[in-house]
């Protein structure tokens, strides 16, 4: 049985009343059985009044349910937006943390290479920048750490969004 038929079943009493009214109308002869027609008309009027009351109630209940669903839907949309924003913030922070770790790794690596390889070479060639080459190089690297970190963070975030 489909959904429509199931819904009609809710009105089975009304369907019976309608079927009876149609039957009476088909057989009615006001000249011969006016009293019977009048009685049937009275019954039909009473049933119609009840049905009108039912329809008013159903409309009212239905409107309220619809308003409730609409309200719930709006709340869900708002929560959905909040969740998306929180996820974006979380992803941003996660990318920032990973970028920071990578940059710190690179800085440590540079420090080790600098101590073991670059600095001894620069000390041997003191004519470069009057002996301040090591300080200048390390300053440049230190200043570059933040932009590198930001660029890494942006790339990691983009990769995460693509995933």
């Amino acid at each position: 049985m489909n959904r429509q038929s199931e819904l009609y079943q809710v009105f089975e009493n009304e369907n019976l009343i309608l079927a009876r009214a149609k039957e009476v109308m088909a057989q009615a002869d006001p000249n011969k059985n006016a009293d019977q027609v009048c009685a049937e008309y009275g019954l039909l009027t009473k049933s119609y009044a009840q049905l009108l009351g039912d329809v008013k109630l159903l409309t009212s209940v239905s409107d309220r349910l619809q308003a409730k669903i609409n309200k719930a839907s709006q709340q869900t949309s708002r929560k959905d937006g909040e969740l998306a924003l929180a996820l974006a913030q979380l992803e941003n922070e996660r990318a920032g943390r990973r970028a920071f770790m990578l940059v710190m790794g690179l800085a440590t690596l540079f420090f080790v290479i600098s101590e073991w390889v670059i600095d001894p070479q620069l000390q041997r060639h003191t004519e470069i920048l009057g002996g301040h080459a090591a300080v200048v190089l390390k300053s440049v690297v230190a200043l570059a750490l933040y932009p590198i970190s930001q660029a890494l963070k942006n790339n990691l975030r983009k990769m995460s969004v693509k995933k």
């Binding site: 079943q9 809710v10 039912d54 008013k56 109630l57 309220r64």
Partner: protein
């Protein structure tokens, strides 16, 4: 006459109709897949009850939520109880104090049913 009892589920209300004491209870949620199929046994039970009741009937309704077709079935339940007579039946419509929808639904039923419906607030 036997009592009518159905346990509550996530979609259907608890139905406890005691023919001996005349205490009726409907509570929970009423959103069955097929309302008429769910309520038909109750209609049949009530058809028998209204011909054989012996004492005043008190019907407590404490619904959290019901769908539109359930409200039509509730009307059918009330119409059957109308046959018992307005003085012999009392309906208590319970609703949470912050549940305006359920309160308004009770008011709607009051308008079309010829049985006194008493609105009862459940204070949280």
């Amino acid at each position: 006459m036997e009592n009518f009892y159905l346990e509550e589920t996530s979609k259907t209300p608890k139905l406890s109709f005691d023919a001996q004491t005349g205490k009726f209870l409907m509570s929970g949620r009423s959103i069955p897949e097929n309302s008429i199929e769910f309520y038909r046994p109750l209609f049949e039970w009530l058809d028998e009850y209204v011909t054989s009741y012996k004492q005043p009937t008190v019907f407590d309704i404490s619904l959290e939520y019901f769908n539109t077709s359930s409200s039509k079935c509730l009307v059918e339940v009330f119409r059957r109880l109308e046959k018992v007579g307005g003085q012999q039946v009392a309906i208590n419509w319970f609703y949470e104090e912050d549940d305006e929808d359920m309160q308004e639904s009770g008011e709607d039923f009051k308008e079309i049913i010829d049985i006194p419906i008493k609105m009862q607030v459940i204070v949280n």
